[in-house]
């Protein structure tokens, strides 16, 4: 499902703020969390590979025997520290200084927050990351996957222990609000056509699609148009649009002009 149409069905959870406003956030799903981990692993692996290759090149190209031995020792030490650092420090450090994000999470717009919506503290980050041997690494990852799958707030054991959850931050298309909507916009084109009322969610969905359609592949574009057409068609009941023979995409453009 495309994110612009699946918005209402995404898993959400309520947070409570001191201002007595319920904050509803979109919990990150298993797929994006796994992908974020894979990105982080790849980054770590790349750093390791680059250091290894550079170190090897250096060690093989210096003539001095003492220097060779020294550099190969330094390289071994560096590699051991890198592996250790990736396993125990990387996630802790990034989630701590980047307020709940690692490079992988940042790329996928994921963030770790406390269960009450407040930012994670150092101890929270330590708790959720030091428990990775039990629920993320190697075969134990199955345990974490299972927990994320069944838990209402998609928490793995480390998240439960730290009282944290991983959310997905949605991108927003501001340009759709720049145009003036309502009868004023369509008054020049068709005076006779009655206005059709959309809810704000439907209005937004329609305009997000119309704004984005030129960047989509043809099949995706048509499929989305059809799915939107089917969703919005009941609204046109009783108007001339109901029986209009227009293809779905043009029908949507026409609908947008009448709202």
């Amino acid at each position: 499902m495309n994110s612009s149409t699946s918005l209402p069905s995404a898993r959400k959870t309520e947070l409570e703020l001191p201002e007595e406003i319920d904050l509803q956030v979109e919990v990150a799903n298993v797929g994006s969390r796994t992908l974020a981990i894979l990105i982080d692993l790849t980054l770590g692996g790349l750093v390791l590979l680059v250091v290894y290759c550079l170190g090897m090149l250096f060690a093989h190209n210096v003539a001095d025997d003492w220097l060779t031995r020294f550099s190969s020792n330094a390289l071994t030490m560096l590699l051991i520290l890198l592996v250790f650092g990736f396993q125990w420090i990387y996630f802790n450090l990034f989630e701590w200084i980047w307020n709940g994000q690692t490079p992988g999470k940042r790329m996928l717009h994921l963030r770790v927050i406390k269960i009450d919506g407040s930012p994670v503290s150092g101890i929270d980050v330590l708790l959720r990351n030091l428990s990775r041997p039990i629920d993320t690494l190697g075969p134990m990852g199955l345990n974490g996957l299972f927990m994320i799958f069944v838990s209402r707030k998609a928490q793995r054991l480390g998240d439960v222990m730290a009282g944290t959850l991983v959310i997905h931050e949605t991108a927003i298309d501001w340009s759709i609000f720049d145009q003036i909507e309502g009868p004023a916009a369509s008054s020049g084109t068709s005076i006779t056509a009655p206005a059709i009322r959309l809810t704000s969610a439907q209005w937004e969905l329609l305009h997000r699609y119309l704004n984005r359609r030129n960047q989509l592949q043809v099949e995706v574009r048509e499929r989305l148009a059809l799915s939107l057409y089917e969703q919005l068609k009941p609204l046109a009941k009783g108007t001339d649009l109901e029986l209009s023979p227009l293809p779905s995409e043009d029908w949507l453009v026409e609908l947008a002009r009448r709202t």
Partner: protein, 322 residues
């Protein structure tokens, strides 16, 4: 008000809040002045109002999600926990870590008992049948013991200079942290790690005694052994604290018990990090050297006494006052 009007009317405010948040998130709150903070809180309050309005009128829109996250971010900055300072670190090491250990001495005791059971079983296994050693020890180590040499000589010639302590402390810290995290497996992994390490120690001791290496073995282990064994026992204790929260949450829910006990447990586990780095330096530089045995024994006992004095005595006064 239509969604478009709402956005056009209020968006400048959200954008201003966003730039202020970006500033405060990268530079930290110290760099801000009074007018800045006043504006931030008033924008925050105005945006919570927008959020409440959007919640009633614009359900299911991305604008609502955007506002929720904007308000969440502002909330994060306004109600953020302490930033790291010298005082926070000082409190953490001088008070929080030892207090956590003292609060859970029972778990530490259980951890020590399982470790000692491992030692006892290791000793008696070799006593019963010498081949038991081959279950757990690598054959290169066995060969050197059978031929009457300390296996440590070869370890330190393979990993010379600063490589040896690096390898030792990364390995030992990983074991200690896995013993802590193992508490989440209802303590099974923790118990297994403690038992295995104890068992290995028992087997090596008995084997060395049988092949006339006891003196060499003691002189090697004395310097760092107390610190290493204490660390694994304390981090095992941390694992059992977690396991206990899972198994006996009392009047709390399991997740609440885990959340509150986890906070002490992770502090206990972190106590091992400096201890294990020290132990690794001793193990790499002093243990294989030709310092006299009495010096190594004295060093080991002093280090062990310092660690336990730190864990059992530091921060008592503050705890009584506080």
């Amino acid at each position: 008000m239509t969604l478009g009007t709402f956005v056009r009317k209020n968006r400048p405010r959200w954008q201003r809040l966003e730039t202020m948040l970006a500033f405060i998130e990268t530079r930290g709150p110290r760099r801000t002045d009074r007018p800045f903070l006043r504006e931030l809180t008033s924008l925050y309050r105005a945006s919570t109002g927008d959020l409440a309005f959007a919640q009633t009128h614009y359900r299911g829109t991305t604008v609502l999600l955007f506002l929720q996250q904007l308000v969440g971010r502002a909330h994060n900055q306004i109600y953020r926990p302490h930033r790291l300072s010298f005082r926070v670190i000082d409190d953490f090491f001088r008070q929080e870590i030892p207090q956590a250990v003292r609060a859970h001495l029972q778990a530490v005791t259980w951890s020590a008992i399982i470790f000692l059971m491992g030692v006892a079983l290791g000793l008696s296994a070799v006593q019963f049948d010498e081949r038991a050693a081959s279950i757990i020890l690598p054959s290169s180590m066995l060969d050197s013991i059978y031929s009457g040499h300390m296996w440590t000589d070869s370890f330190f010639s393979v990993y010379p200079g600063p490589v040896a302590p690096t390898k030792l402390f990364t390995g030992n810290i990983s074991v200690a942290l896995v013993a802590f995290a193992g508490g989440l497996s209802f303590g099974l992994i923790t118990a297994w790690i403690l038992f295995l390490n104890g068992f290995m120690l028992g087997v090596v001791f008995k084997l060395c005694a049988d092949y006339g290496l006891l003196g060499g073995m003691l002189s090697f282990v004395a310097g760092h052994g107390v610190l290493e064994i204490s660390s694994i026992i304390v981090s095992g204790g941390a694992g059992f604290v977690l396991a206990n929260a899972l198994l006996n949450p009392g009047s709390y829910s399991r997740s609440d018990a885990m959340a509150s006990q986890g906070r002490s447990a992770v502090r206990m586990a972190l106590a091992c990090v400096p201890a294990l780095v020290t132990a690794a330096c001793i193990e790499a530089f002093i243990s294989p050297s030709h310092f006299p045995v009495w010096f190594k024994v004295a060093l080991g006992l002093t280090m062990g006494a310092l660690l336990w004095a730190y864990l059992l005595l530091t921060g008592r006064k503050a705890a009584l006052q506080g």
